[in-house]
Symmetry: C2
Subunit: 128 residues, 2 copies
Amino acid sequence: MAGKTGGIMADDLRIFLRLWAGDRKFGPGKVELLERIGQEGSISAAGRAMGMSYKRAWGLVEEMNAMFATPLVESLRGGPGGGGARLTETGAEAARQFRLLEARLAEAGAAPLAVLAALMSGNMSGGK
Amino acid sequence: MAGKTGGIMADDLRIFLRLWAGDRKFGPGKVELLERIGQEGSISAAGRAMGMSYKRAWGLVEEMNAMFATPLVESLRGGPGGGGARLTETGAEAARQFRLLEARLAEAGAAPLAVLAALMSGNMSGGK
DNA sequence: GGGCGTTATGTTCAGGCAAACATATCACCG
DNA sequence: CGGTGATATGTTTGCCTGAACATAACGCCC
C-alpha cells in the first residue's frame, strides 16, 4: 500500500481521496485507524501503531462517530484487559466502501493519472 | 459543480481529490486557479476572484511550476496593462487531465459513494 | 481491595501556516 | 517622464492545530 500517509500510488505520484460532509472529514487516515481498531481491538493500540497519541486517536473516533448516523466504533471502559473497542457493522462497512472507492478510482483514473505523472516527470509519450 | 472549495459532490458529501508528488500538492484549489488564470490572463485577477491575496496566488503558481517538468504558467512583468500571465500548453493539459480524473472518479465511484452517503444520513437502502 | 490497562477528558504549550502589511521592479501609456 | 497596474518578494502577526502533560472513571484479576 502507500506510504505512511496512505493513498493510492502511481509512480511517485499519490492520490489522496478525502470525503467532506460539512466540516467533517473522512480520509485515509481515519480509515486506517478504523481498520486497526478492528484488528487490535483497542483505540490506544491502534493509535500507537500509527504513531499518534491516544487522545488524538480517540478524538478521530469521536469525529467519525458523530459524522455517521450510527457509531463506527463501540468502546468499553474497564473489563478484561482494562477495556477495549471494536468496529460496529457500520464501521466495518464504512472502511470497506472507502477502500472500494479508492480501488475504483485507481482503475478508472489510471489514464489521466499517467498523463499527469508524465507531465511532472517530463516523460511525455502521448503528447496532446 | 461543488462549493467554493471545489470537489465532486453527491448529496452533501463532497469528494476531494488531491495529488501528492513528494511534499508538493496538486488539488482542486490549484486547478481552479490555473483555469482562472487562463480565463483572466492575470494571476492577481484570478486570485482576487478566488478571494485570496496575490502573494498566495503567486506562491501557488510557483509551487505548480516547480512540481511539473515544464512551467504551467508564463508571466510577464510590465507591458500593456502592467503585465499578465497565461497558461502554457502544459498548464492547460494539467488542468484538463485533473478534471478528467475527477469525472472518472465521479462515475466509477458513484456506487460506493452512495453507500457511504447513506451510512452518514441514516438512509440505508441496500442493507448490510 | 489494590494494581493495571484502557477509555474518556481537560489544560497548556509550541510550531507552522496563512493573512496582513510593506516594497521593489518592470514596461507601457498618456 | 511620472503614473499605473501587474509581477515578484520580504517581513510580521495572529490563529489554529497538534503535542505534551495531567487526571479521572471503570472493571477485571490476583
